[in-house]
Every structure is written in structure tokens, then in C-alpha cells.
Symmetry: C2
Subunit: 148 residues, 2 copies
DNA sequence: CTAAAATAGTTGCTATTGCAACTAATGTCA
DNA sequence: TGACATTAGTTGCAATAGCAACTATTTTAG
């Protein structure tokens, strides 16, 4: 009856704790300051980068399931943080952009986000940060190939 | 209206994607092969390591909220994967252990888990794996200090 | 010794999740 | 052209999450 696994040292578990801790901290700030969820923020973030894309493209870029995207977009539309057009050439598709208000909020949240990233990485040297970044890229790419 | 943030390159986001991808893959296997959720598995894993601890200690060790722990334990008790005693010296506390069946399942899942860990890390050299492990430790420790 | 505070665990309630079914529009191919 | 498949987006529903309130004990202080 020896323990066969040390959960505390199990890498997927540790990665999950770290990621959740960071996400929760950031989420709390977005929620407290802007009443916006992480899902909503990710939608706004990709629309800041790719104005005019469809809900489906938002789903692909954020890796968020399309029903969540649909509901989050409704909410953001109600709050007038987004604008939606129906595409001329394909009436199923929407064309989404940040509204003026939405862009103002975006401009406020972005520096906050970057500051969080900086803070979380602050215990690592510049070089270590680059190593980490590259390791994550490689692991992500590899993980894709495993979980087909 | 320039994009101010590249979500794809935002580290907390990338970390979250990686962690979710791994967790989902592992979770699917546990669910398909053993009809066990990640929460249930984490409970079993800490009980394999620390037989006889209380629900509260399980909650602390897994970082899972105590109502989730309570409900998951009920389920595991119904399936006879755990045994529960009321502590003699403190009648509020439970003393939880894996049942014989529970331990058998544990013994089956552990090698599977370790194999997943190995597979996900397989694209890194031994040395890189150690670097990653140490970076995660340092980031986790630092993240704790930030989000007080 | 006793009243108040703290702790272990359970349960109620609401919000979020995510799959699947559905509608509407477009694409494919005989 | 016209049936069939595919795609974009929405909605229904069941499962899960997590906060807060509650019960039952135990601990602490006066």
C-alpha cells in the first residue's frame, strides 16, 4: 500500500494549479473593475486584434466553445461594447467589431493585462522568461499532436 | 485603432490553453476507462498518498472547494471506492481511506497518469524537463505572493 | 463552567459549462 | 436544378461549480 504517485509533484497538476491561480487573479480584477468575465475579455481582445471577424472565427481563435461565444456576444452587445453586422455575402455570418465604448474599455484593460503578465514573470530573468516561453510553445505543439 | 495586445502570445492565456489541453486529454481517459472525474481522481490520489486524512485536508491538498469535495466523496462512497470513519477524538472529522476496490482502481490509474506525464514531456530533453519543473515551482511560489 | 468563536462537513441556490438539437443560409454534385 | 451535406449561430438541457447558509461539534476566553 505504498503511495505510487505524488500529486503535488505531478506536472499536469502543477501546471493546472499555476494556470488557475493566474487566471483567477486576473479574472477577479476584470470582474471587479469592469464587470467582465475572462470569456468576454478574450472575445474583446481578439476583436481588438481582428476587427470584423465572425463569431465562429472568434471561437476558433479563443478556443472557446461556440455556444459560450454566442451567449457572451449577446451580453456584450446588450452592453454596447460590440457592434454586429450581418455579412453581405453570407447572411449566416456576423461581422463583429468593438464599439467606441468597447474600444475604450479595451484600451484600459490591455495595459492592465500586460502589467499582470509582467508581474507574474517578474521572478524570472529575461533569459528565463524566453526559455519558459519557448518550452510552452513546444509543449503546446506537442500536446496537440498527442490528443487527436 | 492598432491592436495593443496579441492574445496568442499572452503568457497567461498560453499557459491556460496548454494546461486545459492536457487536463482535458487526461480527464477523457479517466472518464472513458473508469467513469471517474478529475476531481474524484485527485481525491483518490491524495488518499493513496495520505490514507486516513479528513475531507478538509483533502480539500487543502487538492485545492478543491470543500462542497465539491463533499459531493465527490459521497459519490465515491456510493461506488465503494472509499471508506469513511468518524474520528474518535473529533466527531466532526472524517477519516478517509481507499477501499480495496478503490486501491485497485488507484493502482490502475497511477501508471496511466505517469505515462501521460511522460508523453506530454517527451518533446523535451531531460534537462529541459528539469528546467521547466523548476520554473513552474518558482512561478507558483511567486504567484502565491502576488494574489493575496 | 459557559458563552462566543472557530471548525468539519453538508446542503441550497444560482451561475456557468458544454453537448446536442435546432434554424437558417450556403455549398456541392449528380 | 434540386436534393443532401455543410456551416454559422442560437437555444435547450443536464451536469458542474462555487458561494453562502446551516448543523453539529470542538476550542477558546473570561
Amino acid at each position: 500500500m505504498e503511495p505510487l504517485l505524488t500529486l503535488e509533484r505531478y506536472l499536469p497538476y502543477r501546471l493546472s494549479l499555476l494556470s488557475n491561480k493566474i487566471s483567477e487573479t486576473v479574472a477577479k480584477t476584470y470582474k471587479d473593475k469592469f464587470a467582465i468575465s475572462i470569456t468576454e475579455w478574450r472575445i474583446m481582445a481578439v476583436l481588438g486584434e481582428y476587427p470584423g471577424i465572425s463569431a465562429d472565427e472568434v471561437s476558433l481563435k479563443t478556443h472557446i466553445e461556440k455556444s459560450l461565444i454566442s451567449r457572451a456576444i449577446s451580453k456584450l452587445l446588450k452592453r454596447k461594447l460590440l457592434c454586429r453586422n450581418i455579412s453581405e455575402d453570407d447572411k449566416r455570418r456576423s461581422e463583429l467589431v468593438l464599439s467606441n465604448t468597447g474600444y475604450e474599455v479595451y484600451e484600459e484593460i490591455v495595459p492592465l493585462s500586460l502589467e499582470y503578465e509582467r508581474k507574474f514573470l517578474a521572478s524570472l530573468s529575461q533569459q528565463e522568461q524566453e526559455v519558459l516561453s519557448s518550452l510552452i510553445d513546444r509543449l503546446s505543439q506537442h500536446a496537440e499532436s498527442i490528443s487527436l
